[in-house]
């Protein structure tokens, strides 16, 4: 089994650049239901490790420190806030092909009018311990 992180950010999706607060309420509910059902499906398959949403960009902070002086803490609004991480799923699956299959499913989450939003999903393998032959 191999672990992958499926990451999504706040950027516009290929098929929908309307903020969710401007969707029809029924479409929002359908989208939420889709995400919950996907998590349920992955959990019942024994493939879900963790799924979390992150609090919004307004609550994001960037911290740098030289280890001596007081750290520099930057808060928003950030010009690149669309690149911030919005949430992630960590999955443990048989193959990269399966990870891509799950990412494709997540990408096709329903948007306004039930049309898939084509959300870009970043698929990243989680590094592990070296294999026995390495």
């Amino acid at each position: 089994m191999t672990k992958f992180m499926l990451l999504q950010n706040y950027g516009a999706t290929l098929a929908c650049d309307l903020p969710m607060a401007e969707w029809d309420p029924a479409d929002i509910k359908a989208h939420i239901e889709f995400q919950l059902a996907l998590n349920d499906e992955l959990a019942s398959n024994g493939e879900l490790v963790d799924a979390q949403g992150l609090a919004g960009p307004e609550l994001a902070r960037f911290v740098t420190s030289d280890g001596g002086r007081a750290p520099v803490v930057t808060d928003g609004p950030f010009p690149e806030s669309k690149e911030l991480l919005a949430g992630y799923r960590m999955i443990d699956v048989e193959s990269e092909a399966r990870a891509i299959e799950i990412a494709a499913k997540a990408s096709a989450a329903p948007g306004p009018g039930g049309v898939p939003i084509q959300q870009p999903i970043e698929v990243r393998q989680v590094m592990g311990a070296p294999g026995p032959g390495e």
């Binding site: 903020p19 607060a21 401007e22």
Partner: protein, 407 residues
């Protein structure tokens, strides 16, 4: 033979009693707590299959003492002295099990501990939960929670606290800490501030159980009674508080036929009894407000003038800006949204950036018929909350108003 759930209840009830006995015998809180935890885990493994022993309390004490003794034997340098202690009979039982539970609650809420540490230690030492259960409730790895508990015990040890009740003014102060910790545990279960699970029944139920024990030990304390009543009156609404998929349903829209009438009756009896005795504190006032909500057939039937008066009283008692926020909502219900909005202005400082200020503004602007401003505040609140059900609720409110305005 008991079921697993029956065993669990029994273990939680016995845990603080057994711990009290073992601490008295060995005098070392930290090791005794570990030994009792191991005894509880052994019981949870064996009892469901083999049946509960005739004397479960004795079984647990024996198992914990054996572990303590084994551990002490392995410490060669201290062997002679500690073995003598281990073999000694426990002192005559001039204290009841109830007292031991109370002492444990007071110890676990020691001022040297952060709230997070006090919560974890209270759940384990006084509540008898396993480290795995506590870790699961707070969504952290078991090793992390084990370390948090171990450090908490170390801090108590360093502080030099003996196994006993604090005295004088320290007693009253510590009782306040105990109530606060139980209240935090309840809230963590009822309205989790982080993550997707709106209700972690495990934690709320445990907080109510511990508050009942505290109330049984201190039946004449009005604030303890108020705290227990507040928990019952709030928990009574749980069945109506979320929809089938965990989505949040606000008080005004809840199906009140789903509220738990038995819990409400119990809470009302408790708070009525406490108020009859005099000195009123903040838990009693909060319980009274909850009782008034629970008494109303619907949001329009609610006795808002009385709720407004009680929030005024509570604000004078606590000076808490969150209470002022609730008073503004009650003001809007009595005197209209503009009066409520006016009360929100001075909260821009103390509650700057808090999503609840935006959420209340959104609600009051909606009441006032100013849809665009209400939408803007719902969206601002959604952007700042750290709870997923809350975020979804607020986003849908903005979308609902927008759809209504467009059509």
């Amino acid at each position: 033979m008991n079921t697993g759930a029956g065993t669990e209840d029994l273990l939680r009830e016995l845990a603080p009693q057994v711990l009290g006995v073992v601490i008295r015998r060995f005098g070392d809180f930290a090791s005794a707590e570990d030994a009792v935890q191991e005894a509880l885990l052994a019981a949870a493994r064996h009892w469901p299959a083999e049946g509960v022993p005739d004397n479960p309390r004795g079984w647990l004490i024996q198992a914990a003492v054996r572990r303590m003794t084994d551990q002490l034997r392995s410490e060669q340098a201290r062997r002679r002295r500690e073995d003598a202690a281990a073999m000694a009979e426990p002192p005559a039982a001039d204290v009841s099990d109830r007292d031991d539970t109370l002492i444990l609650l007071f110890m676990c809420c020691h001022p040297a501990l952060t709230p997070a540490s006090a919560i974890a230690l209270t759940l384990r030492a006084a509540g008898g939960l396993t480290t795995a259960e506590i870790a699961n409730a707070f969504l952290v790895p078991e090793a992390t929670m084990a370390q948090r508990i171990s450090r908490a015990k170390q801090r108590i040890k360093t502080s030099g606290a003996a196994f006993g009740m604090p005295t004088g003014s320290e007693w009253a102060q510590r009782l306040r800490s105990v109530m606060h910790v139980l209240y935090l545990i309840f809230n963590e279960g009822y309205a989790s501030s982080v993550g997707a699970d709106l209700h972690r029944t495990e934690l709320s139920g445990e907080a109510i159980r511990l508050a009942s024990i505290l109330h049984a030990a201190l039946p004449d304390d009005g604030e303890v009674t108020g705290l227990l009543a507040l928990m019952l009156l709030t928990d009574a609404r749980w069945p109506a508080r979320t929809g089938g998929r965990g989505e949040l349903i606000p008080l005004a829209q809840q199906d009140r036929t789903r509220w738990d009438r038995a819990l409400i009756a119990e809470g009302v009896t408790l708070i009525t009894g406490a108020l009859a005795r005099g000195v009123v504190g903040e838990y009693q006032v909060q319980a009274l407000i909850a009782a008034i909500h629970d008494d109303a057939a619907d949001v329009g039937d609610t006795d808002w003038p009385q709720i407004l008066a009680l929030y005024g009283l509570l604000e004078r008692m606590t000076g808490n800006p969150m209470v002022a926020l609730n008073r503004a909502v009650a003001t809007a219900m009595v005197h209209g949204p503009d009066a409520g909005l006016k009360l929100l202005q001075p909260l821009d400082g103390p509650l700057a950036g808090h999503y609840r200020l935006d959420a209340v503004r959104a609600h009051l602007f909606e009441m006032a018929g100013d849809v665009p401003t209400a939408i803007a505040h719902y969206r601002a609140a959604a952007a700042r909350t750290t709870s997923i059900p809350e975020q979804q609720y607020l986003t849908i409110q903005a979308a609902r108003l927008r759809a209504g305005a467009a059509s």
